[in-house]
């Protein structure tokens, strides 16, 4: 029988990682074996996650797309439902619907250099791209990752970053707005650090995700570095409920962000009304 697309699948949290004071990563797996084995997703796709009885909200699937049995979301506590999620630990059951949305066109990026600029929780949608490139290392050129957070305590994905730092043909630049007594790394905002790193735009693709102000200031840097709007990608954040193009909520211009996005090129965004 036809399954209600709004009906969540049950999933069990296998591991909880407290990334920062307000951000938790959950690794989980679908309980139904057939569903678990058949599940696939692409970098940039998202899911609707629920703490049963407390609501449902949208998170990008922030795992390694080559290991789709182990699903991951990284969640920042900002309201009622994310608060409820943060009361859950390994073993708890959550609801899952997905994958939804258009993915980053990683297949079209083969043979190109990749430049990633992420800020704060904006690293979550970028992580599956990095995993994909490292899984298919020979298919892509140089990978540059500029990642920034407000303070050393706000940096996420410590284990992943250790792997990325050692990966072949990969440059990882980590920066914080303001360091503390123990911080020996770089200080400065992502746009400025990106400008200083000056990755080549020749045969390269740029991707940026992070707080709106960071994206706003990063896009001109990419432009100055020579990236055309068609080769700069980002994700749009818009309130969502269904993820299916049914509930009408994420409509902006002729698009439903959940169905036609959330991944857009800057060239596509320039066609949209300046509503956000």
């Amino acid at each position: 029988m036809l399954r209600d697309p709004l009906l969540p699948l049950a999933a069990r949290i296998s591991e909880r990682v407290d990334e920062t004071a307000d951000t938790v990563t959950f690794h989980f797996e679908l309980l139904d074996e057939a569903e678990r084995k058949a599940f696939r997703y692409l970098p940039g796709q998202f899911a609707e996650i629920s703490a049963f009885g407390e609501g449902e909200s949208t998170f990008v699937i922030a795992g390694d797309p080559a290991k789709p049995e182990r699903l991951t979301v990284t969640t920042k506590r900002v309201g009622a439902h994310t608060e409820a999620l943060h009361h859950l630990y390994a073993g708890a059951i959550i609801g899952f619907r997905g994958p939804y949305g258009k993915a980053f066109p990683v297949a079209e990026w083969k043979g190109k250099d990749i430049v990633i600029a992420g800020g704060g929780i904006g690293l979550a949608p970028l992580k599956p791209i990095v995993c994909h490139i490292l899984n298919h290392r020979a298919d892509y050129g140089k990978l540059t990752i500029v990642y920034g957070a407000r303070s050393p305590g706000d940096l996420m994905y410590a284990t992943d970053r250790e792997i990325w730092a050692k990966a072949p043909n990969t440059e990882l630049v980590v920066t914080v707005d303001k360091g503390d007594a123990n911080w020996k790394g770089r200080e400065g905002f992502v746009p400025a650090v990106l400008r200083a790193a000056a990755p080549s735009a020749q045969n390269a693709v740029a991707i940026t995700c992070g707080p709106p102000i960071m994206i706003k200031l990063t896009l001109p840097v990419f432009k100055d570095l020579g990236f055309p709007a068609e080769r700069i990608f980002t994700t749009l954040e818009m309130k969502m409920k269904c993820g299916l193009g049914q509930c009408g909520r994420c409509n902006i211009g002729p698009f439903y962000v959940c169905k036609d996005g959330p991944v857009f090129s800057v060239a596509q965004l320039q066609q949209l009304p300046q509503e956000f």
């Binding site: 969540p8 449902e56 309201g79 269904c242 193009g245 049914q246 409509n251």
Partner: protein, 333 residues
């Protein structure tokens, strides 16, 4: 000219009852299950027929608080076979648009689909009301394109014509009356305020026009216009718990509420009334036709005009302004 089929009220009712359950508008204008064919008012009822297909409030699932995942009980689609009597062309045409959302191949809503498959739409031609304007969209009160059967009332019964193969098959089950030549379809009302449908691109190009703010001041964003609209599809998803039982619900929502797009942390791309009113106009007359050529987000039922507490006629105002903008552009060119 094609022939229609004369049906007595009794034989139609018997055939419909034979087919299954029967829904029709009640005295309050809500769609409810009935035993006999009711007398209908002259125009569309207060509530659009979409209520039977995408109800204002429908359960997705329920479970006991603290229950394991095996105890989640999904709501079952209602598979009752039957018919809906008294559907008006504007409401039936609105379903064609809702089909685009709820019958998308990648995410079919099984509740909607079951109702669409099981319920025969029996249209009844209307006497247009003062705010109806279906005529501007090229159809009229006896339009049969979106119903299975269209009935034109006459003394003692109806003249029936099939609007679909399914309707044709149903009519074959009704004891045949005389064949009568059908009159030409009646054109729908074309009100004076109608100055022509603005081009979807032109509307979009005027996204930043000051008219939205001027019009926004005279709207209180109550959302009544969207709550009664036969084409509006928006909903929210909410969990409600009561006495240890939790329900996940799909509840109708509307774009005129400020909370509709308010995101965690307070950012709201449609903070002011004007931006929400603009969203309503642009979605119906620019975004929908851009995405679904041939369809619009309005079928001219006129409910939003009838029911606005401030007696506003938003589209009339917008189209008037768009007409002036066009004339200005032509004068300059």
């Amino acid at each position: 000219m094609a022939d229609g089929m004369r049906l007595s009220r009794e034989s139609l009712q018997a055939a419909l009852r034979q087919r299954g359950a029967l829904w029709a508008p009640n005295d309050a204008g809500h769609w409810s299950q009935v035993e006999a064919l009711p007398e209908l008012g002259p125009i569309r009822p207060r509530r659009p027929v979409k209520d039977l297909f995408t109800p204002p409030r429908r359960e997705i699932a329920r479970w006991k608080a603290g229950a394991g995942p095996a105890e989640i009980e999904p709501a079952q689609p209602d598979q009752t076979p039957g018919s809906v009597f008294g559907v008006r062309p504007c409401d039936a045409r609105a379903l064609l648009l809702l089909d685009r959302a709820f019958l998308q191949p990648s995410c079919v809503d099984p509740h909607y689909k079951a109702r669409r498959e099981n319920l025969l739409l029996i249209g009844v031609a209307c006497q247009p009301g003062p705010n109806c304007y279906c005529g501007v969209f090229g159809f009229g009160p006896d339009d049969k394109d979106a119903v299975d059967v269209m009935l034109t009332p006459e003394a003692g019964g109806f003249v029936a014509q099939a609007g679909s193969p399914r309707g044709q098959a149903f009519l074959a089950t009704v004891p045949a009356g005389a064949a009568v030549p059908l009159a030409a379809p009646r054109p729908g009302p074309q009100p004076e305020w109608w100055t022509g449908l603005p081009d979807p691109k032109a509307l979009y190009a005027n996204f930043d026009h000051p008219m939205w703010h001027e019009l926004g001041i005279s709207c209180m964003n109550c959302g009544v216009c969207t709550q009664y609209c036969p084409t509006c599809q928006c909903f929210t998803i909410d969990d409600e718990s009561f006495k240890g039982e939790i329900q996940r619900l799909r509840i109708v929502d509307n774009c005129q509420r400020s909370d509709f797009t308010r995101m965690a942390g307070g950012h709201n791309p449609r903070q002011v009334a004007a931006s929400r009113l603009r969203q309503r106009v642009l979605h119906k007359f620019s975004y929908i036709p851009t995405q679904n050529p041939g369809l619009l987000g309005c079928t001219g039922c006129g409910r939003c005009v009838d029911l606005c507490p401030l007696d506003r006629h938003l589209f009339a105002d917008v189209f008037e302004i768009m007409k002036r903008i066009n004339q200005e552009a032509e004068r300059v060119a």
